[in-house]
């Protein structure tokens, strides 16, 4: 493993250095400064805002009864991942000339549709689970490995 680690580390270090060198030599000082602000702001925004919101949501969800919580967690996760992509589209919609055929859709309605579908699937899976747990007496109880 040691040889692989050294080879990967050297290759990675060289590519990284090359990229930084090109950025530093090809961008003018002002642009470089703005890029640096972008890099730091991206990490600060993620580590200081997005991640804490996610963790906070997780803590809040602990209050939800365990039986239904997994479906709520799943729906929120799927919904969040879709929303991340949809938000810039909503913000940018309709800003470009018509002949570009770009950003013409109603992304707000489409996001609502996708979130609604996500909620519907999660609810259906939850309902299925509740129904299974209410199987008539005599049938063996459904074993859940993870609960």
């Amino acid at each position: 493993m040691r040889e692989y680690r050294i080879a990967l580390g050297v290759a990675g270090g060289l590519l990284l250095t090359f990229g930084v060198f090109r950025l530093v030599t090809e961008l003018d000082a002002g642009d470089l400064l703005v890029l640096l602000v972008w890099l730091i702001a991206a990490v600060a925004l993620h580590d200081g805002l997005i991640a804490p919101i996610t963790v906070g949501t997780g803590i809040a969800l602990a209050a939800v009864p365990a039986r239904g919580r997994r479906y709520l967690q799943g729906a929120l996760l799927v919904g969040a991942l879709i929303t991340v992509i949809a938000i810039p589209l909503i913000g940018r919609k309709g800003t470009q000339p018509e002949s570009k055929a770009i950003l013409l859709r109603d992304y707000t309605a489409n996001l609502a549709l996708l979130l609604g579908m996500t909620a519907a699937v999660a609810l259906a899976l939850y309902a299925l689970r509740v129904l299974r747990e209410q199987e008539p007496a005599g049938a063996p109880p459904v074993q859940d490995e993870t609960d």
């Binding site: 493993m1 692989y4 680690r5 050294i6 080879a7 990967l8 580390g9 290759a11 990675g12 270090g13 060289l14 990284l16 250095t17 990229g19 930084v20 090109r22 950025l23 090809e26 642009d31 703005v34 890029l35 972008w38 890099l39 991206a42 580590d47 997005i50 991640a51 996610t54 963790v55 997780g58 803590i59 969800l61 602990a62 919580r69 997994r70 967690q73 799943g74 996760l77 799927v78 969040a80 991942l81 991340v84 992509i85 949809a86 810039p88 589209l89 940018r92 002949s99 570009k100 055929a101 770009i102 950003l103 013409l104 859709r105 992304y107 489409n110 996001l111 996708l114 996500t118 993870t146």
Partner: protein, 412 residues
């Protein structure tokens, strides 16, 4: 994301100097969903995405600046459509994947003490470079596909240099984490360690290698469920965006940026005649196509249109990841090249009426024989926004290099 308990752990005391000495208010992470096994699997998927993006990105760069000894091939006709469609689709998919990957290792941000040694400081710096370049690369790349440029630098070159930084950081990260990756990929999802802010080798609760540890209890979502949810979310994003290049999926393109069918003559336009400031020049009575070379000549529009024309099915494939197949009719470039005294081995440069921007491009090698000067698009006389009176179209070529509103062709 789930079931965090940010309070002192109720279990056996954490041993080791790091665990014992941290302040009481220091965040603690207990979600049993997080695991080296989860992170390694997410990382493997993300690493594959970054590799695909890097390779396809380099192929795209090569299209713009090919080596003279290795000209861009004219076939497969759809090659650039596929590689650039893949580049953008993979990059978009990597955005949610990156967020989940970062969630899975968020506790590592809260290692105590924050810095132990010079080596540790460098390692953390390398993680900062990795995370920062990944977030900025994916964000700016995505915004670029929305024609949104809220930054002062030139996108193509900065995107490329940052690509080197990112792929280098990824390789370095793999080198640093290889033992963890090996453990994570070999461990079973259900009973692998719980990843917390305490490093596994200091936390007997958190690492299966520390002895026989009972599998963590997951009262709600389990790790397999996590992957089902993440996979579903990413699949939804990919399926609803990729219709901008995979035409049959355009109908479910709820989040797709381009709609080819809504473009004039069935093809979207990136640079309009108005924004290129060619409206009067392109419609002028005295428009001429000048062809320079060993035997230079000039053509009026009538003369050009009376030349032998052929029809070809070439896609228009944009660097922004959208593409559409179209039927082009026009004069083979090679006919003009021969008439100017050149042949299939000539270098051909075409120039636009457009005063600035991407207003010229080069044809070399196989593309010379395959390119057309298009006068018709999908059965109609090509309109102003698509490059009237005549534009270049060639197979396996980025959209912007199919120069529009031609005025001069140089054969050398």
């Amino acid at each position: 994301m789930h079931d965090e308990v940010m309070q002192p752990s109720p279990g056996p005391a954490v041993t080791g100097r790091t665990g014992a000495s941290r302040p009481r208010w220091w965040p603690r992470f207990r979600s049993p969903l997080r695991s080296t096994a989860v992170t390694a699997r997410l990382g493997r998927a993300l690493g594959i995405c970054f590799a695909v993006c890097f390779v396809t990105g380099m192929l795209s760069h090569y299209q713009y600046q090919p080596w003279s000894w290795l000209p861009v091939p004219a076939s497969p006709v759809q090659a650039y459509r596929v590689t650039q469609g893949l580049h953008v689709a993979t990059g978009v998919a990597a955005i949610p994947l990156l967020l989940v990957k970062l969630w899975s290792v968020y506790p590592n941000l809260f290692r105590w003490p924050p810095i132990r040694s010079m080596k540790h400081a460098l390692e953390r710096l390398s993680v900062f470079v990795l995370v920062a370049s990944a977030l900025v690369q994916l964000t700016t790349g995505f915004l670029n596909t929305l024609n949104w440029y809220p930054w002062p630098w030139s996108f193509p070159s900065t995107h490329r240099y940052l690509g080197y930084v990112l792929i280098g950081s990824v390789l370095l990260h793999i080198a640093l984490k290889l033992p963890d990756i090996k453990y994570g990929l070999q461990a079973r999802l259900g009973d692998a360690d719980v990843l917390t802010e305490v490093p596994w080798n200091e936390n007997p609760l958190a690492h299966s290698n520390a002895g026989t540890v009972p599998p963590p209890i997951m009262p709600a979502m389990d790790r397999r469920g996590l992957f089902v949810a993440v996979g579903s979310g990413i699949a939804a994003v990919v399926l609803t965006t990729i219709g901008q290049t995979v035409t049959p999926l355009a109908r479910i393109g709820l989040l797709a940026t381009r709609e080819a069918s809504k473009g004039p003559q069935g093809v979207p336009v990136n640079k309009t005649a108005r924004s290129a400031r060619v409206l009067t020049l392109a419609t002028a009575e005295d428009w001429r196509l000048e062809v320079t070379g060993p035997a230079p000549f000039t053509l009026t529009l009538d003369e050009l249109e009376s030349m032998r024309s052929v029809s070809e099915h070439f896609p228009l494939s944009c660097v922004e990841g959208w593409s559409v197949g179209a039927e082009w009719r026009g004069i083979p470039v090679i006919d003009l090249v021969r008439r100017a005294g050149g042949d299939a081995s000539s270098r051909v440069e075409v120039f636009s009426l457009q005063p600035n921007g991407y207003n010229h491009s080069m044809l070399v090698g196989p593309q010379v024989g395959a390119a057309l000067l298009a006068t018709h698009l999908n059965g109609e006389r090509i309109n102003l926004d698509h490059g009237y009176p005549v534009r270049l179209i060639a197979p396996n070529r980025p959209g912007v290099l199919n120069t529009k509103w031609l005025r001069r062709i140089e054969v050398t």
